[in-house]
Symmetry: C2
């Protein structure tokens, strides 16, 4: 009997192609781009089939640990969450997955999946993984190839070789992203898109990494052996992991191994690589307009209009994307998805914070949103989860007023603990040591008005923190 | 010697072609569309040449009275401000102008000017008015005709007749807005655009109104005779003015009178009739993009990008307008200016407040801006001018917290008067009678946090108001 597949979800990336919605502080895999769930949550749900899959391993950047935890809790699925203390490329992440899987089971079969891909037919997806697992157990590294529906120039391709078993073939060659002419030829010759999702026998993968890239495998083995539990996470040893070579798994193993196989994924796949892909996957009206939020289109067709907050009015334009967030608006032809990255580079060079930082910031205790800012004041809307506790802190340059608009706050101010109810307020003078907590059963919402000469996030002197943030 | 021209500025209109910037609560003539001044302020400055013009009369809707006053004060020019208690068409406004002018001077020469037009060469404009005044004094109604620079279909045209004096001709005919073919023919035949600005002898105009439209003139004569001073304004008698027939001055007099003349206005004119006109008048970069606020254009040319607040990123599009305000975004080809009205009609029908109401609301004591709103709370940024006093009021459904972030507040709360300094706050429980004033020399800024079950503007029970609002 083949062991259950150990699914590994990679979600440390930070793409900018879906800016202004996707930014460093909350990249696309954690955003509900389609429906209620994020693509990470969709991936986790997809892998929750316990007849085929074991408990998943989530590999993420330490920065996103609380978001991962919260999104797992929201779908009610548990996972082993492994934190990378710094960004390395995919070879190191696959090595981490391999080592954790082998620690669970010396015969482990591992599936590595992207957190930002979308699958249409989940039953067929699971069945594809199961079949791939059977072949992987014979010592193969089975990548999922997608039958192309257009001559894409944005994906690598796989040339399939001779059949191993029904639907699974050897890989004749991996080929780089082609130009348009080559892509058209690839389609005629039955090449497949390389989806970047693959299934392998952990022992085989370890052997290949050892053979091709010992400078990836060896530091990772130490980083995993020395990993420390940290709250609900496992934190890889930073000193060891730092030594791991930065290289993609494609270059490190896939393009070199003789053990590569490919299974055709007919389950309907998208990597949601730009606003055009979001439009493809969205519900549309009779004019082909996909509108989310308060958007209106007059005399226009096949547009994607998304708004978080403001009213968006589009007149007389076709095939464009208008993406409006609280602090930024993108207007571009849907087909120019590639240029969004360039725009983010441009505005980054101009020092615009909106390039990478969201207006609403997630924290382990809840979230906050800056709603107004002046020369000497800032107004924030703060939401604290039931049981959430902010760090014990003080500020050198600002006083704060907290007005509770929903729920109940427990405020520590110097030596006193004060319960503040709905409609009540409390004043925190400059320099006082204070802490905010939600002792109640419903979210606590409060309006914070900061007044002072300097209002930066770095004027938070943390004295104690239950979430162990420095 | 000819009397000085009495300039009358008409600024009661409320156009939607420049939505989302122009709305009912602050129409385009009061908005700084180009540079620091509004078009109303530009018009007032233009008419401040005291060798040619007497003190201006401003005719506006009662709704805009404080805005008019504030904008006059800002440019430091005094005017007689006449308030229409309800909207009538332009014939009634011209009759009002005529009666006020005759009350000043029985030989008065009057110039009627739109508040939302822009003139490039102010010296030539003044000289044109002076020349028109000389002809008007001979009993003519002299309209300013603009030499067309393209076959516009959005303006009425004037067919000039035989010359009266240098540059001034009789009007052979007024013609309605043409189709494109006719417009091209008009250009070939030397027709002029009807700018809607005209200069006349008041006695002549009164006689023509009496002959053609006594149902306009007679009620207006009573409304003017019975006009009451109200603070710094003159309020027309509502009962009488209500009886005035609603008709445009074009239909009422211009198209019927035998006394019409036309003077060519070569001073560079625009009625700023849409976003395309704003682009025409704006400074542009080498790619023809006019950007105001935080806007970036990549691979695009001849765009108009305006942002009040958010960052706007435009990629790969040409000749479009992207207009971003705090609560609404318009995206449209510049040439589709006509459709903006239709969009406003559409969103009005959907009940969207952004169709007519600005986020920032001007008040005689200052202004306020709603910065955040939840189910049971609202946060406003309130600015009170030095000396400004809000009404004495109470609320049935909400408590308020005021946090002073700049300046000093004098707060009346029931029987007490409390001075609240920067960084301090005050609480106003439900039902308490309160008043806010700025006793200081600099603007007072405060953050108001309202908490309650109903937060509408109509839960303001005014007990006393220095600005005499009901």
């Amino acid at each position: 009997m083949v062991s259950k597949l150990i699914p590994v979800v990679m979600c440390g990336g930070a793409g900018t192609r879906l800016w202004p919605v996707s930014r460093d502080t909350m990249p696309k895999q954690f955003i509900p781009l389609l429906g209620q769930d994020s693509t990470f949550q969709r991936a986790i749900r997809l892998l929750a089939n316990s007849t085929v899959f074991a408990e998943p391993i989530v590999i993420t950047n330490a920065e996103y640990r609380f978001t991962v935890l919260e999104q797992l809790q929201a779908v009610g699925i548990s996972a082993q969450v492994v934190l990378e203390p710094m960004r390395r490329d995919s070879a190191a992440a696959v090595a981490v997955a391999t080592e954790f899987a082998l620690a669970r089971d010396p015969n482990a079969i591992v599936g590595v999946f992207a957190a930002d891909h979308i699958v249409q037919d989940s039953v067929l997806f699971v069945e594809t993984c199961r079949k791939a697992g059977v072949v992987a157990a014979q010592g193969k590294i089975v990548t999922i190839g997608i039958p192309p529906n257009y001559p894409a120039t944005g994906y690598g391709y796989i040339q399939p070789g001779k059949e191993i078993s029904s639907g699974v073939r050897q890989v004749a060659a991996f080929v780089e992203k082609p130009d348009a002419e080559r892509a058209a030829q690839y389609l005629l010759n039955g090449f497949l898109w390389n989806s970047g999702n693959f299934i392998f026998d952990a022992t085989t993968m370890r052997a290949e990494l050892e053979a091709f890239e010992p400078h990836v495998l060896e530091p990772v083995m130490i980083a995993v052996a020395e990993a420390k539990p940290d709250l609900d996470f496992l934190l890889l040893d930073a000193k060891a992991f730092d030594q791991a070579k930065t290289i993609s798994i494609d270059y490190a193993v896939m393009e070199r191994t003789k053990k590569a196989a490919v299974i055709t994924g007919n389950f309907g796949w998208s990597d949601v690589g730009g606003w055009s892909a979001v439009w493809d996957l969205s519900e549309k009206d009779t004019n082909g307009n996909a509108v989310e939020g308060r958007g209106y289109v007059l005399d226009g067709s096949n547009n994607l209009v998304r708004s978080e907050d403001t009213l968006v009015a589009v007149i007389g334009l076709d095939d464009i994307a208008v993406i409006s967030t609280r602090d930024a608006v993108l207007v571009a032809p849907k087909a120019k998805a590639d240029k969004v990255k360039d725009m983010v580079t441009l505005i980054t060079s101009k020092g615009e914070a909106e390039a990478g930082v969201h207006r609403e910031i997630q924290r382990p205790w809840g979230k906050y949103l800056s709603v107004d800012m002046g020369a000497r004041y800032q107004v924030k809307r703060i939401t604290v989860k039931p049981g959430g506790i902010l760090s014990l802190q003080k500020h050198y340059h600002r006083a704060e007023h907290w007005i509770v608009v929903r729920g109940t706050a427990e405020v520590t101010r110097n030596d006193a603990t004060i319960v503040v109810h709905e409609t009540e307020s409390i004043y925190l003078p400059i320099g006082c040591v204070h802490r905010l907590a939600n002792p109640g059963k419903i979210p606590l919402e409060l309006i914070e008005v900061q007044v002072g000469s300097y209002l930066g996030e770095d004027d938070i002197i943390r004295i104690e923190d239950v979430y162990r943030r420095s």
